[in-house]
């Protein structure tokens, strides 16, 4: 009998001919997640097993497995020979000792001499013998004993199913560049794209000395939390101070934010091409602030050719907050290091800026050299 973590995967089985590729990436991601913990990762038709780990590492393994995209569910259980004695020994370990329960058998090996029903009945009866305080309830039991009869004379025995992170293995859906601020939304946007299998890189814009170093450190913390899911381990930062000053001096005040966002997108696209990212990702949600109207999104999207993915576009703030809390970024996002960008905030930002007006105002600026100058300030912070 061997203690194992049983991992079932999510959508990979849908992927027909590409299945091998998805499974390879998935197992690499699992190995990456379990780095630093002694273990063996094994394939077993339609499942992965983590085995050969120290008892005290079990909880840590479970919490790391829970964060790997592509994991549909996982269980802590036992790998045993499929004879009755071994099944029963393991069943006793996962079974509740009182209350109601039910044995639920899945027979992967159809040649097994007993049917599922017979196994349920026989193991159930012996468990009641062992634990007299137990009673069977097949409709709404308080506890379960799952028997999973596999090929090769083996079986898996476990008592619970934990829901995994679902989604697709990170790395199977290309690479995106997340525009990450210190707020609540952008980390959630990054999480959602990673969940769909995307490798997510991070880019943060700051305006030091208008913004402070603590604000930047906060973004590093957020990226570090996200990296538990996304796998990336560095953050690019770019200063847009000079751009903001130029816009402030030369352009119509109500377009400050609109124009700045166009610069951010231009810079992001160039850096995306450098890092091999195939799209930009933002935390924009329709109508949330003045720059996140459809007109605002159109005007910023107009300066780039890469697709801009906005996974939160249809979400309410409340829905985003719920996710941020679940991911673990919320508490960091609400730390009070808001920037001094408000120096540049117009009293009445344009809510529906016209593209022709924007372009006219933008002609007052040397766009190309400002973009190049900003890219020159790029720093990469590893973590």
């Amino acid at each position: 009998m061997e203690k194992v973590v049983i991992i079932r995967y999510a959508e990979i089985h849908l992927k027909g001919k590409n299945r091998g590729y998805f499974e390879r990436v998935f197992s690499v991601n699992l190995e990456k997640a379990l780095k630093g913990i002694r273990h063996e990762l094994r394939r077993m038709s339609g499942r992965y097993l983590v085995a050969a780990f120290a008892e005290e590492d079990a909880d840590e393994i479970l919490s790391r497995v829970a964060r790997v995209f592509g994991v549909h569910s996982y269980s802590l259980g036992y790998l045993v020979d499929n004879d009755m004695e071994s099944l029963l020994a393991a069943a006793k370990l996962v079974c509740p000792q009182s209350g109601t329960f039910k044995v639920d058998t899945h027979r992967g090996d159809k040649k097994y001499p007993l049917t599922s029903m017979q196994l349920n009945a026989e193991v159930g009866a012996k468990l009641i013998e062992a634990f007299p305080a137990l009673t069977v309830d097949v409709h709404a039991p308080q506890g379960y004993v799952y028997l999973d009869i596999r090929d090769g004379g083996k079986a898996l025995v476990f008592g619970t199913f934990e829901e995994g992170a679902n989604g697709m293995p990170v790395g199977t859906s290309g690479r995106g560049l997340l525009l990450i601020s210190g707020g609540i939304d952008s980390p959630v946007a990054g999480y959602m794209m990673a969940k769909r299998g995307m490798n997510v890189e991070y880019l943060h814009f700051h305006s030091y000395p208008y913004t402070n170093e603590q604000a930047k450190d906060k973004v590093v913390s957020l990226a570090r939390i996200l990296s538990r899911y996304t796998g990336s381990n560095s953050l690019m930062t770019v200063s847009v101070t000079h751009i903001q000053e130029e816009i402030h001096k030369k352009c119509a005040a109500e377009l400050n934010v609109t124009l700045l966002r166009r610069f951010m997108f231009r810079i992001a696209e160039r850096l995306a091409k450098r890092t091999g990212a195939q799209c930009l990702i933002t935390g924009e949600s329709l109508g949330q602030v003045a720059s996140q109207t459809i007109e605002g999104m159109t005007s910023s999207g107009a300066v780039v050719t890469l697709p801009v993915l906005r996974p939160l576009v249809g979400f309410d703030k409340e829905e985003i907050i719920v996710r941020a809390k679940k991911i673990g970024t919320f508490d960091t996002s609400v730390l009070p290091y808001e920037d001094c960008c408000t120096v540049f905030l117009p009293e009445f930002p344009a809510i529906k800026p016209k593209l022709s007006f924007i372009e006219e105002e933008e002609q007052k600026l040397d766009v190309e050299s400002l973009v190049a100058e900003a890219i020159g300030t790029m720093e990469r912070i590893g973590f």
């Binding site: 208008y210 402030h248 009070p336 290091y337 001094c340």
Partner: protein
């Protein structure tokens, strides 16, 4: 680096660090230990206590309890003395007092805040008028940490006691101790001080209390150190450093004060008066000059100055909804002044050359900022 943020913290004196190191590496014994090493450390604590107390008070009437910081000293006095009724303080207090007062409501004590004047000093008449027969505690900061304004705590305490002799009087002396010449008078019950503002190290403070005032209750309970008023093994290395720093500061207190007052005025004269407005009063602490660059942001100026080798303080932090200082706001200034506040604070180690260079850099920085925004 020209360091002009000495009111936030000041560089520990090398002699103080050496003393701390001695009590960390050689004389590391527990002062409660009943062998020679312990007794020696215990004697050092007595000498330190005696010196620090004598520097500002008569040991016949006052005693000193070591704490972990000025904030702890303030808190212990406030939460011991504030009883049902009301407690009076000023709008110009340090957060250690101000925030503590705000929580008194939960204990059934009504906090009352007296207004301050434009320079940050308390309006004493208004304060005294808030005191009535139900007042259990009155707190007045000695030197306003944001403007440098000095409150005449002896006179104020006298007026408070004349109106209600039972009211306990506390003063936060963190920015005054080791910097201003003064003696505690018998109307002052508690006085809170800190080591790291005068060249000691962080994590060491003290509460001085008048012996006749019996309201003090311990906050930290345990082995009965500090006469049972503050248990926990004493921070011997911090106290040794505090002792050393105080010896040095008090020995040249008047000379340093005169010189720094000259520097403060020199710095003010050199600053571009078309940009900067002065907030600190001339009769305030020689250690603090607070000004405002109207229309600019103090915090931004502060970071730019740091990048050019000058460290200054600011009352503002862009973190809250009101990104400026509560105290300067209470002085009655409008938003354009509030945003632009920077505080230059000195130490006896500050040199005239530093003052001149700092003034030039501050002017240059502010002028450039004016052009950009």
């Amino acid at each position: 680096m020209i360091y002009l943020d000495n009111a936030a913290t000041t560089r520990p004196l090398s002699g103080a660090v050496a003393e701390a190191e001695r009590y960390l590496t050689e004389e590391y014994f527990n002062p409660s230990a009943r062998y020679h090493g312990g007794a020696e450390v215990s004697r050092m604590l007595s000498r330190a206590r005696d010196f620090l107390l004598r520097a500002v008070a008569d040991p016949a009437d006052f005693e000193l309890i070591f704490t972990s910081c000025g904030t702890e000293a303030d808190n212990q006095a406030i939460f011991s003395a504030a009883r049902r009724g009301n407690a009076v303080t000023t709008a110009g207090e340090h957060a250690a007092v101000f925030e503590s007062y705000k929580t008194l409501k939960n204990r059934g004590v009504e906090p009352r805040f007296a207004p301050i004047r434009a320079d940050g000093s308390v309006d004493a008449d208004a304060l005294v008028s808030l005191v009535d027969e139900k007042t259990t505690l009155v707190s007045v900061v000695h030197v306003n940490n944001e403007t440098g304004a000095v409150n005449d705590i002896a006179a104020i305490a006298k007026r408070v006691k004349a109106k209600n002799p039972r009211a306990v009087f506390l003063s936060d002396g963190v920015q005054a101790f080791g910097k201003l010449p003064f003696r505690l008078t018998k109307e002052i019950d508690f006085y809170a001080v800190s080591a790291h503002k005068i060249g000691g190290i962080k994590g060491t403070g003290a509460l001085i209390r008048r012996k006749g005032c019996t309201v003090l209750a311990p906050y930290v309970i345990g082995g009965g150190q500090e006469s049972g008023m503050r248990s926990g093994t004493e921070n011997t290395f911090g106290i040794a450093a505090f002792f050393h720093a105080a010896e040095e500061k008090f020995s040249s207190l008047r000379v340093d004060g005169e010189r720094l007052k000259g520097y403060r005025e020199q710095l003010w004269e050199m600053l571009d008066h078309s940009i900067f407005t002065r907030i600190s009063p001339e009769n305030g602490s020689p250690y603090i000059l607070t000004v405002s660059a109207k229309g600019l942001r103090g915090e931004i100026l502060q970071r730019e100055l740091w990048d050019r080798g000058v460290a200054v303080g600011t009352g503002s932090a862009c973190s809250s909804k009101k990104p400026f200082s509560r105290v300067i706001e209470a002085c009655g200034y409008g938003e354009d002044t509030l945003y632009g506040v920077i505080r230059m604070s000195f130490s006896p180690a500050t040199t005239e050359q530093e003052i001149r260079n700092a003034a030039q850099t501050i002017n240059a920085c502010a002028r450039e900022r004016k052009e950009n925004v």
